[in-house]
Symmetry: C2
Subunit: 292 residues, 2 copies
């Protein structure tokens, strides 16, 4: 039993054992307790939906938001028009957030400990974004209800895709600057494999973390579409590799991606992981069959 | 050669190899390249010196600052009156930052990407701190010159102690809430070993990281004082252990603290560190004689 339970922000007495166990999916040990740091609840929050002309515009808008608002930028989510349309179709009470349709949308949230000043800040970013051609249209939530309605479109992305039939999913990350190229190339590759397939990427631009999900063509047999899953995944993961990305940004490896790992991971990293596994779990009893 | 050079914020494809090498002081491998993230330079910075009645008041003031200013709090440094007095004595051009002397001082810096609003924020914290009895007096820098002069007192802390004779140093961290008890108990312990010794702790309150340095009594032979170094360190490290702290917050173990490590580190953590060392460096050729 390793007792690593402390409340320290800085500790340089040897190797960083904590981070070795985080993300190891129980294959190096079982975490039985954790120390969590609490932060004060924000005093003010502002939320906006922006219609943007391209993924590049969304990435540039994130740069603008960081430049003006720094750590106040607490969410920056990318969505497609398809995401909005499916929400309008399947989720009761959904409204189109802007008057006209846009190919891409950004959901941006700012938070602050200060009671005032945040509304001015989000308006400044909105204006500068329009001036630079990064925002075609937008709206700032005036009430908590409006904010919840905006979030709902994003949060139901997985649900609406399920209602639309088969979906081939990827939880990937790439360098933030590579997001536009990644989405363009992955979409071209997916559609080349299944003509009519409908990419519906969404996710966390600031983390470079895109849930690159592809819906089946309308009317296609779901099983026939899902039979192409491995081909589509291989093509998407090839683009991820080309961009210097990761095939698992936040979901982990588990069983589902275990076979993929040796195909995408640096062989030296993989052999080091195996050596660590053998050192900490010589009898192979910790979550066997997962990750490695 | 492990190529772990990527630009990803999120990557959950296996074990966190990066953090294993950071802080290992070259005993597990040699880092030859790193990816650094750049952040925009702040558009506005405000700096204040507060005279505070106690270490507890400084810790409570940090809580107040986080509550009001969140991530804008970019520095929060604790200093003693002795630190100010030695700076006045040894560093040319130093001025007493406040009209009357105070037992403790806090140097607080706020930074923001916004062009305006920060002055109001620091004044709000100042006012609230005075109302709650956490601040006895204070001043906000009006010019860059004033800010530099305030920083200089803090930054010359090591230098002025050197001029004052022998100094027994500790780079420790404790939970932030335990800082007041740590400083009180460590000081009592140090003075019990060397009557007349003068503790001059300073450092980074938000990190719980105190440079707990003890100056020799005036007029005592320097060598006689330094001969008590191990006794004083043992007493201080005992208080650190009691507070759930670390004997090396940021300086590392190297050679200087290598003998201390087995006395303060959890034996399971230490044996795990040795197992990792044996796995990655079976021939013991990587920075031998350091850390372990």
């Amino acid at each position: 039993v390793l007792n690593n339970l402390n409340k320290l922000k800085k500790d340089n007495t040897g190797y960083d054992l904590k981070n070795m166990f985080i993300g190891a999916e129980g294959t190096l040990g079982i975490i039985t307790a954790a120390v969590l740091r609490l932060v004060p609840r924000p005093r003010s929050v502002e939320l906006a939906v922006f219609g943007v002309p391209s993924v590049q515009a969304a990435v540039d808008l994130l740069g603008l938001a960081y430049e003006r608002a720094g750590a106040h930028v607490t969410s920056f989510e990318l969505m497609t028009r398809m995401n909005v349309e499916l929400a309008l179709r399947y989720i009761e009470g959904t409204r189109d957030p802007l008057d006209a349709p846009h190919p891409w949308y950004v959901l941006m949230e700012l938070s602050s400990q200060a009671e005032s000043g945040l509304r001015d800040l989000i308006e400044t970013i909105f204006e500068a974004g329009v001036e630079r051609g990064l925002i075609a249209d937008g709206t700032i939530a005036e009430t908590l209800e409006q904010a919840k309605a905006m979030w709902r479109i994003r949060e139901e992305a997985g649900e609406v895709q399920k209602r639309e039939g088969g979906s081939i999913k990827h939880d990937v990350s790439v360098p933030v600057a590579a997001i536009p190229a990644f989405i363009a190339e992955a979409s071209a590759a997916a559609v080349a494999i299944v003509p009519g397939a409908r990419p519906m990427p969404f996710g966390h631009v600031g983390d470079g973390n895109i849930h690159y999900n592809v819906s089946q063509p309308p009317g296609m047999d779901k099983a026939a579409f899902m039979a192409r899953e491995e081909d589509v995944q291989r093509a998407v993961f090839d683009v991820v590799a080309k961009c210097g990305g990761s095939i698992s940004a936040e979901h982990g490896i588990g069983i589902a991606k275990r076979e993929w790992l040796p195909r995408v991971k640096d062989p030296v990293a993989l052999s080091l992981m195996r050596a660590l596994k053998a050192t900490l779990d010589p009898n192979g009893i910790l979550n066997p069959g997962k990750v490695l």
